[in-house]
């Protein structure tokens, strides 16, 4: 094992929705180490960046290289073009690689088409202040000469007729004559999207009103929900305005390039294949963890903090193979009658220590402290959680601790485990302690064989990619 002292993750954006920035776990505890993912899976290819700001020129160059082959003939000098960006891209590796791709798209479109009216539409999750924070932090006001607007699920909608019926998108997203789908391929909630046409998901989430998001999550299953973003994308409304897609491609190692073309279905097939090969191995490795304490240590909601390129939610739901489409539900709202799944419950997760993370702010953790004891470091964070309307009962169960060390000690004692894994935004490596590193190293070869010989052929065949 070539593990080193814990590497610092990319710096993250300060926010009204989170506590003041605290030192990272790796800065506070000398016992934490970073395990390179290539020690676990030597077949993983190197990335062009895992978030180091010095690598942004590579992202810019890759974006230009990919866009050079894109047919932009749908955009004329007289058009007004919206570049649609989604908030979670700014949570990947500090957000700068995605921001760089977005800025470069604008430059190239202006150069290639003569169109000067190129605006940014920043789709955020729920907080009405998120878009302003993102625009300021990443310098979008300057890069887009002030033509930047946020989009949220509560904004005015527009009815769109689709093959399955009417749905509602956000009007402002499509108030230009054309739009560009500027996306990232982080599989994120693979337990919901199941890697079924994930590249289309923004059309029923980021760009959609809250009612459409609710239909996707609550009135369809994990698998069948994939029809909704495709029906929206294929609608006349979208196709009349769609110019092309540009996607920041990732593996658990980091950014591997940019994939841009007018054919989003082709991009999706490439992404799905690559993700099953890489994120699939990591997800199955998480499934081998029998007991652990997780530490949240980043600048987004706890569910969505990355460790080894996978979000915490992936560990939480690793009790099921998210990619096996024979299973109707891994996590979700629609349930098989008589066999409900509580996706906030995983016996291997013995506790959660919150060093830093956004509070709920729209993300419910209702049952989590009942099934996985939570330890909140510091009164400042505890106060934010107490005032979080999304999780009014959480602090009735969570424990406030004075220090990270105290939280870890209490969690490990109660959970009867000595294994720690940190979700600090890292790609290319996992921040953990020695005990966890030893377990991951011991189990990785078995996962490699299992995925290569059995699971990957099955996952591919289930998606018509064999």
């Amino acid at each position: 094992m070539t593990a080193s002292a814990a590497l610092l993750p990319p710096a993250f954006m300060p926010s009204d929705y989170g506590p003041g920035l605290r030192p990272h776990v790796g800065e506070q505890l000398s016992s934490m180490i970073s395990v390179p993912l290539t020690d676990l899976f030597p077949r993983f290819e190197p990335a062009i960046t895992a978030g180091d700001p010095a690598d942004l020129d590579r992202v810019r160059a890759e974006t230009r290289k990919s866009l050079a082959n894109v047919d932009m003939s749908k955009i004329g000098p007289g058009d007004s073009v919206n570049i649609l960006a989604s908030e979670h891209g700014f949570g990947l590796m500090g957000g700068w690689p995605y921001a760089e791709m977005v800025k470069t798209i604008r430059e190239v479109v202006i150069e290639r088409t003569g169109c000067r009216k190129v605006s940014l539409r920043l789709a955020i999750y729920r907080g009405f202040r998120e878009a302003d924070e993102v625009a300021e932090h990443f310098g979008f006001e300057e890069a887009f000469e002030g033509s930047v607007h946020g989009l949220g699920p509560f904004d005015p909608g527009v009815e769109v007729d689709t093959a399955i019926g009417p749905m509602y998108l956000i009007k402002r997203a499509f108030d230009g004559s054309k739009f560009i789908h500027a996306y990232y391929d982080d599989p994120r909630e693979m337990y919901f999207n199941r890697l079924l046409y994930k590249s289309f998901k923004s059309f029923c989430m980021s760009y959609a009103r809250y009612e459409t998001r609710s239909v996707y999550h609550s009135l369809f299953g994990n698998r069948s929900g994939s029809i909704i973003p495709r029906a929206l994308f294929d609608s006349d409304f979208i196709q009349q305005r769609y110019a092309f897609s540009s996607v920041l491609r990732t593996t658990p190692m980091g950014v591997i390039g940019i994939d841009a073309t007018t054919d989003l279905y082709a991009i999706d097939r490439r992404i799905t294949k690559g993700h099953l090969e890489t994120y699939g191995r990591m997800q199955r490795l998480f499934a081998k963890i029998e007991d652990c304490v997780a530490i949240w240590d980043g600048g987004r909601w706890g569910y969505y903090l990355h460790g080894g390129g996978l979000i915490f939610g992936t560990l939480l739901t690793s009790h099921s193979d998210a990619f096996d489409l024979d299973k109707p539900v891994v996590a979700g709202f629609m349930q098989v009658p008589g066999a409900p799944i509580n996706f906030s419950r995983h016996k291997a997760l013995r506790g959660i220590v919150v060093n830093q993370a956004w509070v709920g702010a729209g993300i419910p953790y209702v049952t989590m402290p009942f099934t996985s004891p939570m330890y909140i470091v510091g009164e400042e964070q505890a106060k934010l959680w107490r005032e979080d309307p999304t999780n009014p009962l959480l602090m009735d169960r969570a424990t406030v601790v004075d220090s990270l060390e105290q939280g870890i000690a209490m969690a490990c004692e109660k959970g009867k485990t000595d294994k720690l894994i940190v979700f600090d935004g890292s790609y290319g490596h996992i921040t953990c302690n020695r005990s966890m590193a030893d377990l991951l190293m011991a189990r990785a070869p078995e996962v490699e064989r299992e995925v290569a010989d059995t699971l990957l052929p099955k996952w591919m065949a289930q998606r018509g990619l064999a």
Binding site: E211, V215, V336
Partner: protein
């Protein structure tokens, strides 16, 4: 059931009367009178959306003197009517429609059976939407639609009548998207084959 610990308040003098707090309130707890919001504490379900939305940053949430428990007990409504409504909407009674408050579909249906006329009244009666305010909406709208309520959207984009479900996907769409697992999910979630499309959503 929702246990509401917080209630919204604001500073009257600097309020510019923009009405954005009123528009995002899920339970009709805010009424604009003379370009100033009047907050009905009894209807406020503590979601905090008005505070987040306020462009002047002059609203806040404060702790209630005593938590407000908001609920419609399923047995408070005729059970046969509740179950019939859920069957018509194609929603399992046990599923948590609001994952923030863990409010089951049976409670939402009971609120509708007891007379809730629109989404805002369902929220005020059950406390749903006091959390994220997003993912519970379509099932509640579908139950209102199944009960024959007026689905004309209210002013100011409060909500749109989006109620499509797995059971509504038409045959042409099944043919167009054969890999969408529609038939498979219908069998998984409705093994007895009792659910059907809502007539209003038929194409």
């Amino acid at each position: 059931m929702a246990v509401v610990k917080l209630v919204a308040d604001y500073a009257v003098e600097p309020c510019i009367g923009c009405r954005l707090c009123d528009i995002v309130c899920p339970s009709n707890a805010i009424e604009m009178v003379g370009r100033k919001p009047i907050i009905d504490d009894a209807l406020c379900i503590g979601c905090g959306r008005c505070v987040d939305r306020c462009p002047e940053d002059i609203m806040w949430m404060e702790e209630r003197a005593a938590p407000l428990t908001v609920t419609v007990r399923p047995e408070a409504a005729p059970q046969d009517a509740v179950l019939a409504l859920l069957d018509k909407a194609g929603i399992d009674p046990a599923v948590s429609v609001c994952v923030c408050t863990l409010t089951p579909a049976s409670e939402i249906a009971a609120a509708v059976v007891k007379g809730a006329k629109d989404l805002e009244e369902v929220c005020a009666m059950t406390g749903m939407r006091s959390g994220c305010g997003i993912y519970c909406v379509a099932p509640a709208l579908r139950l209102l639609q199944a009960a024959g309520r007026d689905m004309k959207p209210p002013k100011a984009h409060r909500w749109y009548p989006s109620t499509l479900s797995l059971w509504d996907v038409p045959a042409e769409a099944l043919a167009r998207y054969p890999d969408a697992f529609i038939e498979e999910d219908r069998k998984a979630f409705d093994p007895d084959g009792k659910y059907a499309p809502l007539p209003e959503n038929a194409r």
